[in-house]
């Protein structure tokens, strides 16, 4: 985390704002540093400003105020074709009238790389993406995954300082997408690339990234490693956006250091980690991950226990999700490995749920 703010960061957004209509800010005061060799994902719902940030970095949008640096170059006024940034587009944007080879030669010709060296580089990159036999084909003769790899190769072949990817896997089916996620991740490690990746798919972001910046409403809500983001969301939006999440609304009864005691509507009282609410008596939204909730016997001895009513079972192969009613919240999920499932659990039965204090995070209550 600390390295990101080093002065030798490769990419630096400093106080960047962007508005299209002069009234609403699409990006509000963005400060972000990306280190050399880092894989950073900008994650957020559509309209959150993540793509605008990428476009400003690529040079297709101009920041309304603030500065963007690449190395020690100020990018604001530098036209996109002089930025030396590789970009992979959502629909690949492979030139349909050129072969795979010609597509790969395109950036090299633009840079006037000598022909012999260009041929060598294209051959090498074709080797890397394992599409040597397809060099003479046109993009339309390739499958989606192959097109994706060519688009990637085209953005890498001129050895740019930085690679941008704008939802590059959105058009692929699930299996291929997961395969490509790993392939891109390995390529990143293998070639030591610096990557800025935009997606709205959280599992994609968690799989691939060194760090993930969660965007909402033009602001980075949290920027952190995938595990920290999942385990320790710093506000209610991130908790709700990343992974599955049980929410209970309550009022802080007492505070002891980093811990607090929360009184939930409906009589339940639980301990929690204090995150971004500070005063006693404030409203708070509690976040509990479903896999941290223990059922019946397993919940014995835990400090926080509550009686719940089983509403539904959802079978997912490797695990089972149990939808329960806790107080007036009928969407409370618990996640049970199939091996731990016992037949005494039935829809309509009453069970005890339990969790530890440190599995509960007391967050702000601003998000609906």
């Amino acid at each position: 985390m600390q390295q990101a703010y080093d002065s030798d960061a490769l990419v630096r957004f400093s106080g960047v704002q962007k508005t299209y209509d002069g009234e609403n800010l699409v990006v509000k005061d963005l400060n972000l540093s990306i280190a050399q060799g880092e894989f950073v994902t900008l994650l957020g719902p559509s309209g959150s400003g993540k793509t605008t940030c990428l476009m400003m970095l690529a040079g297709f949008e101009v920041p309304t105020s603030g500065d963007i640096f690449l190395g020690d170059k100020r990018l604001n006024t530098l036209p996109p074709h002089k930025r030396n940034i590789g970009m992979v587009f959502q629909n690949y944007a492979l030139f349909p009238h050129m072969t795979v080879e010609e597509n790969l030669h395109f950036p090299l010709k633009a840079r006037k790389v000598p022909a012999a060296e260009a041929r060598q580089r294209v051959e090498r990159i074709l080797d890397t993406i394992q599409l040597k036999d397809f060099a003479r084909r046109r993009p339309t003769q390739l499958s989606g995954g192959q097109q994706q790899r060519v688009a990637l190769a085209r953005a890498l072949v001129f050895e740019p300082q930085l690679v941008l990817m704008d939802e590059p896997l959105g058009a692929l089916d699930k299996q291929l997408r997961e395969h490509m996620q790993l392939e891109i991740k390995h390529l990143h490690e293998q070639l030591g690339l610096t990557v800025v990746f935009v997606t709205h798919d959280q599992s994609e972001a968690l799989t691939m990234s060194d760090r993930v910046a969660v965007f909402n409403d033009g602001v980075i809500q949290q920027i952190d490693t995938p595990d920290r983001l999942y385990e320790a969301p710093s506000n209610a939006f991130v908790a709700q956006f990343i992974g599955e999440n049980n929410q209970l609304v309550g009022r802080i009864a007492s505070i002891e250091g980093e811990r607090c005691q929360v009184q939930v509507e409906g009589g339940l009282s639980t301990g929690a980690i204090l995150v971004n609410v500070r005063e006693q008596g404030a409203l708070t939204r509690l976040s509990i991950r479903p896999e941290r909730v223990r059922l019946n016997g397993a919940s014995e001895g835990l400090p926080n226990r509550v009686k719940a009513h089983i509403e539904e079972f959802i079978y997912l192969g490797d695990h089972l999700r149990v939808r329960c009613r806790v107080g007036d919240n009928s969407q409370f999920m618990a996640r049970v490995p199939v091996t731990d499932f016992c037949s005494s659990l039935k829809v309509g039965a009453d069970i005890m749920l339990g969790w530890r204090d440190e599995d509960v995070r007391a967050l702000d209550c601003t998000q609906p």
Binding site: G59, H81, F89, F95, P96, H97, F106, P107
Partner: protein, 418 residues
């Protein structure tokens, strides 16, 4: 193994019956499709195939003499062209000449034979007036020769012979300034009579320039329209299509008003002091080009626009992000993808321009008239259907040839693309 593989499918799906089932299932669909196409097919046959075949036939049609003087024609066809035809030919000719007075036959062969020699109709009239009622004792040959010495000349009969075959190439040859001499050899006509080769050249040059100007003006406009938001581009598209709402004649006439020596443009130019004398802007090539481009521009813009609308802006962005200068990126990445639109637009404009008649006739000078003008001249003024059809057919052939060349060129480009 192999046997079982080949047997399995046929055992499960009896190929024949499956095909029959498919045919039955598809039959209704095919009937419906045919019924939907039928009206257009009938329409095309009536207004397109029939008239065009008729025109092609008329450009070589030589049956006037055959119809009016069938026997004479048969005799002349058998004649070797040496000396003079025999007595039987002359007798048949005299009989049929007399008979041709009824039913307008004389007029028809007179018009046809006048193309061979402008004095022929007079000769026929004179001969008919003095033709003896009974077979003369001295024979038809002597009798005809006594009426007019022309009948003693081999050339007169050769002309009749030329007019007696089923088809002739004289119109087609004349349409490219050629003719056959007395020995049936093709040669160019005298220099001062040559017209049509230069008319064809002029037609191609005018159509080509109009197409080029339309492309140069239409391409940027179509690009601009394609990059605008839909609401704005729809509004501007109305302006592009606005000229269609007024008649072609009105639009052409208004160009005369604008461009003539005392017209709006000349008075403005002189008032601002840009010129001291009025410029000749109309009744010359300039006027023709302006008026034709004005009319044909939408036909260039529409196909270009529809193709450009389908090209994602991310191609240009990708090219620029890969380090190419925006102008070069546009040329190397965007323009090649518009080829099919350019092809459709230029072809449409060029072929429409080839057939222009009213506009050059109204705003052009004598040296700006295109092939259609002469076609109209021969059909309306001189009633020479053979010549009109020959010019029309040649224009059709030239157009088809150009289209083939063009098609091959564009197809090669497209092959590169796909």
């Amino acid at each position: 193994m192999l046997q079982s593989e080949t047997q399995t499918p046929s055992a499960f799906f009896d190929g024949r019956s499956l095909k029959a089932k498919l045919r039955r299932a598809e039959r209704w669909r095919k009937i419906k499709a045919a019924a939907l196409v039928l009206p257009l097919a009938v329409f095309l046959v009536i207004v397109f195939v029939v008239p065009i075949s008729n025109m092609l036939w008329r450009s070589v049609d030589n049956t006037e003499l055959m119809q009016v003087m069938p026997e004479t024609a048969a005799h002349l066809q058998a004649w070797d062209g040496q000396g003079l035809p025999d007595e039987a030919t002359m007798a048949a000719f005299a009989e049929e000449l007399r008979a041709s007075r009824q039913g307008g036959g004389l007029g028809r062969i007179g018009r046809r034979l006048n193309y061979e020699d402008p004095a022929f109709r007079g000769l026929l009239m004179r001969t008919l007036r003095q033709l003896p009622v009974e077979q003369p004792v001295e024979g038809w040959r002597a009798s005809l020769q006594s009426i007019d010495a022309a009948w003693a000349e081999r050339e007169t009969w050769r002309a009749l012979q030329r007019a007696s075959s089923l088809t002739t190439d004289r119109y087609l040859l004349a349409a490219v300034d050629l003719q056959r001499d007395d020995d049936r050899q093709i040669q160019r006509i005298e220099a001062e009579q040559r017209v049509y080769v230069s008319v064809f050249q002029r037609t191609l040059v005018i159509a080509g320039s109009v197409t080029l100007i339309c492309l140069l003006m239409g391409f940027p406009l179509a690009y601009w329209l394609a990059t605008l938001p839909t609401s704005q581009s729809n509004l501007l598209m109305i302006f592009v299509l606005l000229p269609f709402w007024t008649s072609l004649l009105v639009r052409t006439a208004s160009w005369i008003v604008l461009l003539q020596t005392g017209g709006v443009i000349n008075t403005t130019l002189m008032a601002t002091g840009l010129t001291s004398d009025p410029l000749q802007l109309v009744f010359n090539r300039f006027g023709v080009l302006v008026a034709m481009v004005h009319i044909l521009l939408p036909f260039m813009i529409l196909p270009l626009y529809s193709v450009m609308k389908g090209i994602s802006p991310s191609y240009l962005r990708a090219a620029v992000s890969l380090g190419e200068h925006p102008f070069i990126a546009f040329w190397k990445v965007y323009v090649p993808q518009t080829i099919s639109g350019v092809a459709a637009g230029t072809l449409l404009v060029f072929i429409m321009a080839l057939g222009y008649y009213i506009t050059p006739a109204l705003v052009g000078g004598p040296s700006d008239q295109m092939v259609s003008y002469y076609v109209a001249y021969y059909t309306n003024t001189t009633n020479n259907w053979g010549m009109a059809a020959a010019l029309g057919s040649l224009l059709l052939i030239v157009t088809l040839l150009l289209y083939l060349v063009y098609h091959r060129m564009v197809n090669q480009k497209q092959l590169v693309r796909n």
